[in-house]
């Protein structure tokens, strides 16, 4: 477990094991960690 709040956990582990665990807890939602970019409207080459 990497981090936690009152209602959320950030966990690191095999995806299949975690999906199996959450399948036994129907009130929980699981989502892979991913990132959002800071928007940048500047015009650049290749973008």
């Amino acid at each position: 477990m990497v981090d936690e709040t009152g209602r959320m956990l950030l966990v690191d582990g095999p995806a299949d094991d975690l999906q199996g665990l959450v399948a036994m807890m129907p009130d929980w939602v699981i989502s892979p960690e991913h990132t959002f970019l800071l928007p940048d409207p500047r015009r650049q080459i290749g973008h």
Binding site: T5, M8, E33, T35, L38, D40, Q44
Partner: protein, 504 residues
């Protein structure tokens, strides 16, 4: 005779789950509406003829299908009718239908020819950038497009002498567009189009005048001291400068795992401080700048790690959760662009269920569809608007002017702004002057339009104690959303560009 707008298909859903009866806090009127629609679907014409929806004589639609009597409906209507339906039933979700394609790998093809590598000793063009006082501008990004549409050309940053050398295949070259973006230090950028760029070209950047009427001040003026009083706003961003003389940050949190939870100051980027200033700066021009709601309680939730340009969905949902716990009425999120994920969707729904509204930038992908999480139906998605004459004619903002234009032909939807039926509101976002760590700068983006909407919404909420005093639940957030939609005025764009319009 005006052209009839094209219809499209939407999925109409309760605010949570697929059936109204599964949501204990769901508005009974909206639940009855779904049941009435189910009956309408049974008698619907198969010929595609639109008819008035129950209780909404002006909203023409066709109910194509229904999942359960009080559950999801597949409806067909125009984007304008969709807006009217959302205004009347803000607790319902209206999602544009999405079609998926088989994931067949595309065949390789060359869209843009690869750049020709610079030969040893190839001629280069030197561009010198100075401020109006002739001092060199260090670290300015100079971008010379030989073909703007293909994003082809050369770019580089100015050195200590304010100079950059560009390899463009000769000592002079016809340039489609030359952009100069200064570092964030109180200068406007520069744009020149369709000219012959010669070696030794000099650019002089115009300094910022804090008394200038930019597009934010054109549409909203300078707010009185008490604007926004009693409203709490959370800014989920790169952190806010707590030492800026124009800003008062009441508190916040850093939700990046592994960083100090109490460090909600800037992560090295000026973005969050700029966003915060648009909402809540309390300075007085020309010595300082003023946001739309200087009396709000401002809270900073930093989700971008130190020096990072990416934020994880985990840090974001943790920040939303913290902002809701801290009783933020409005949550500003000038970020986006990732794939929709269940956790962020759940966090936005959870905020809504506890009386808070997430107001989110639509994204800057040059008129592509509204990005996630702004596209979430329970978020308020904001596009960016500009106005000719509210930025210097030679500034980079001149490149953001593109049709469509509003009823007032000086108003335009920014070329960079994302658009589409998921939009809720539009805000001024081209050449907005605001606070940055240690000073002031102009910036453009839906990132700026979003806090303009948040600030205007705070002003509105401050004079609606009936809404602020409601129990913090879905009924409250629906009522706030409904009040904002009712306050918005169209500027004459289609709903796909401005949603309900500009908050008045």
């Amino acid at each position: 005779m005006p052209k009839q707008p094209a219809t499209q298909q939407f999925i109409l859903l309760p605010s949570r789950g697929l059936r109204a009866s599964h949501d204990r806090e769901f508005n009974a009127e909206s639940g009855s509406f779904l049941v009435d629609l189910a009956h309408a679907s049974e008698s619907a014409s198969s010929t595609g003829v639109l008819s008035s929806l129950p209780g909404l004589p002006d909203v023409k639609a066709r109910v194509i299908d229904s999942i359960h009597e009080d559950g999801a409906k597949l409806v067909e209507m125009s984007p304008s009718a969709a807006l009217a339906l959302r205004a009347r039933h803000p607790g319902l979700r209206l999602l544009p239908i999405v079609w998926y394609e088989l994931a067949i790998a595309p065949r390789a093809s060359t869209l843009v020819a690869p750049p020709v590598p610079a030969a040893r000793g190839a001629a280069m063009i030197t561009v010198t950038v100075t401020a109006a006082d002739h001092h060199p501008v260090v670290g300015a990004m100079v971008v010379a497009f030989t073909d703007f549409a293909a994003r082809r050309g050369a770019q580089g940053k100015t050195n200590a002498r304010g100079q950059v050398r560009l390899t463009l295949g000769g000592a002079s070259r016809r340039i489609d567009r030359l952009y100069v973006y200064p570092p964030e230090n109180g200068l406007w950028g520069f744009l020149r189009r369709n000219f012959l760029l010669r070696d030794g070209f000099q650019v002089s950047l115009q300094g910022l005048d804090l008394a200038f009427t930019d597009c934010l001040r054109f549409f909203y003026g300078n707010s009185p001291d008490g604007a926004g009083q009693g409203v709490t706003i959370g800014v989920i961003d790169c952190g806010i400068d707590t030492n800026h003389p124009d800003l008062h940050v009441e508190g916040g949190a850093n939700t990046v795992p592994g960083e100090n939870p109490s460090d909600f100051g800037p992560n090295g980027s000026p973005h969050g401080t700029h966003v915060a200033g648009i909402i809540a700066a309390s300075g007085r021009p020309p010595a300082g700048l003023r946001g739309l709601a200087p009396a709000v309680r401002l809270r900073s939730y930093r989700v971008f790690g130190q020096g990072q340009r990416e934020a994880s969905n985990y840090a974001i949902i943790k920040a939303i959760d913290a902002a809701v716990t801290d009783q933020c009425d409005l949550i500003n999120m000038s970020l986006g662009g990732g794939a929709p994920d269940a956790a962020t969707i759940a966090a936005i729904a959870d905020a809504r269920a506890q009386g808070s509204l997430c107001i989110i930038a639509a994204g800057n992908d040059d008129r592509r569809a509204v990005s996630f999480p702004a596209s979430d139906p329970l978020a308020l998605a904001v596009s960016a608007l500009g106005r000719i004459g509210t930025f210097p004619a030679t500034s980079v903002e001149a490149g953001d002017v593109e049709p469509p234009f509003g009823t007032d032909r000086k108003n335009f939807i920014a070329a960079f702004s994302n658009v589409g039926p998921a939009l809720d509101l539009v805000g001024p976002g081209v050449g907005v002057m605001s606070t940055i760590p240690g000073g002031y700068a102009p910036m453009s983006g839906t990132s700026m339009a979003c806090p303009a909407v948040t600030g205007a919404a705070a002003k509105l909420l401050a004079i609606r104690p009936d809404l602020l005093s409601m129990a913090r639940n879905q009924v409250r957030s629906n009522a706030i959303a409904g009040a904002l939609f009712a306050s918005a005025k169209t500027l004459g764009f289609q709903p796909e560009f401005e949603g309900h319009g500009l908050l008045s």
